[in-house]
């Protein structure tokens, strides 16, 4: 026994090292599964609040751009107001309220922390479960797509950015309607790739890429970016397309969290298909 204690104390340095390394690997493995741990991530109380304080200061520097963006959106909304429409056919127009039902609800929020230089980038946002935010909701900004909500605490949520190697979203070419999937690789935070567009589709530089709306996370038609260049490898059936994001992910400020009313219904229906297969 005494020999054992002497042995341990003699090599205590190595044992402490192995012990701590073991702990950190446990952290790593448990945490790698999309930041499962609630305490040790940037949406926790201490660091979340620190970030929002710092962000309050940072916001002043971006006021000009944000104002311009808001003004632009105001103008857009203004044009959609009922007052700007004139009746053409007099009293014969038939209004039927049941024609439309609401599909998406937007919650405005502020990005308080953001990264663009890692393989897996996350954004922290100042709305949480108290505001009705749940994991899996989409996040967009007036200029385009931002990401998907991954973890939610009471007052904050962390969003898996579109700049995340494992976040593939379904994208559509606005002109032709073909659907591909959008992936981003570490390197340039302004550029991403669109895969699975077959080689017979006619493409042009500057074509707009929008969301397809298939997954119901994002509404259909939210802008993602424009085609920067594309090429066709010999013998390949699919294009390599590089697109440039319409959002500058380094200057995120005001964003909208999108809640889909019909997501659950659609998922239930689609799950039926899988059940019948078995």
């Amino acid at each position: 026994m005494r020999n054992l204690i002497r042995f341990l104390s003699k090599n205590s340095f190595i044992f402490i090292f192995i012990f701590l390394l073991f702990i950190s690997f446990v952290f790593l493995v448990k945490n790698n599964n999309y930041q499962n741990s609630k305490v040790f991530n940037s949406s926790n109380f201490l660091i979340g609040n620190l970030y929002s304080t710092i962000n309050n200061v940072n916001e002043y520097f971006n006021l000009k751009e944000v104002n311009a963006e808001l003004a632009e959106q105001n103008a857009k909304l203004q044009t959609m107001q009922i007052g700007t429409f004139t009746k053409i056919f007099g009293t014969t127009v038939n209004f039927d309220d049941t024609t439309y039902s609401q599909k998406y609800v937007y919650t405005s929020a502020k990005a308080i922390n953001n990264s663009t230089n890692k393989r897996e980038n996350y954004i922290t946002i100042d709305k949480g479960s108290l505001n009705g935010i749940k994991a899996g909701m989409g996040v967009v900004s007036p200029k385009g797509v931002i990401g998907t909500v991954k973890n939610v605490s009471e007052n904050f949520c962390s969003v898996m950015s579109i700049l995340h190697e494992k976040n593939a979203i379904s994208a559509k070419i606005k002109k032709s309607g073909y659907i591909g999937s959008l992936v981003w690789k570490l390197g340039n935070y302004r550029i991403a790739q669109v895969k699975d567009i077959p080689n017979h589709v006619e493409l042009h530089k500057g074509d707009t890429i929008i969301t397809s709306g298939y997954s119901l996370v994002y509404p259909e038609g939210v802008v993602i970016g424009v085609i920067k260049d594309f090429n066709l490898e010999e013998g390949s059936n699919f294009y390599n397309i590089n697109i440039e994001f319409s959002v500058d992910y380094k200057q995120l400020s005001h964003v909208f969290i999108v809640k889909s009313w019909m997501k659950v219904e659609q998922e239930k229906l689609e799950a039926l298909n899988d059940l019948e297969k078995e």
């Binding site: 090292f17 790593l28 710092i54 230089n117």
Partner: protein, 172 residues
């Protein structure tokens, strides 16, 4: 002694804040990120017990990880670096051993010694960090390039920090 402990506590907090709030937002050419916070492990005095270096490295890593929600990555990398520090210090002991009460900095040890010390440890830290982050060998050279270029920038930052230290202590 008490003064030293307070000084290192201050340095710890300062480095965590600088790294978490400023340097994590820096990126050069798309993939280079400087990690200045490792200078804390480099700056600990020679007579710090080895186990303490390990534990400090661990705590420092946890703090940095909290900022970027990657618990474990910086923790393990800093821990490995703290572990290697003990052996490296033994390996590059100057003739006659370390002077009592001297600290590892350019002033006491000279530029060549310090550069060797800093570059080796920072490189170990960055290699470990970037390979843990990518967790695969398919992009071996890409990750390797990232580690090397980031090491370069971190060491440049560390030298700049040392320069601050230099002027303030020569005045006294």
């Amino acid at each position: 002694m008490i003064y030293d402990i307070l000084k290192y506590c201050g340095l710890f907090i300062l480095l965590v804040l600088i790294q978490g709030l400023m340097l994590n937002n820096v990126e050069i050419g798309g993939y280079v990120v400087p990690f200045l916070y490792v200078v804390f492990i480099l700056a600990l005095p020679f007579d710090t017990p080895n186990w303490l270096v390990l534990i400090l490295g661990f705590i420092l890593g946890v703090f940095i990880d909290c900022f970027v929600s990657t618990l474990g990555m910086h923790t393990s990398a800093t821990l490995v670096m703290a572990f290697c520090r003990a052996y490296l210090l033994k390996l590059i002991t100057p003739r006659g051993g370390y002077e009592f009460n001297s600290k590892p900095n350019i002033q006491h040890m000279g530029l060549t010694w310090y550069l060797l010390y800093a570059v080796v440890l920072v490189f170990i830290h960055h290699m470990f960090l970037f390979y843990i982050e990518s967790f695969k060998l398919t992009q071996f050279f890409y990750t390797f390039g990232r580690a090397i270029s980031s090491t370069f920038f971190t060491v440049v930052l560390i030298l700049i920090v040392q320069l601050f230290n230099y002027t303030s202590t020569t005045k006294v």
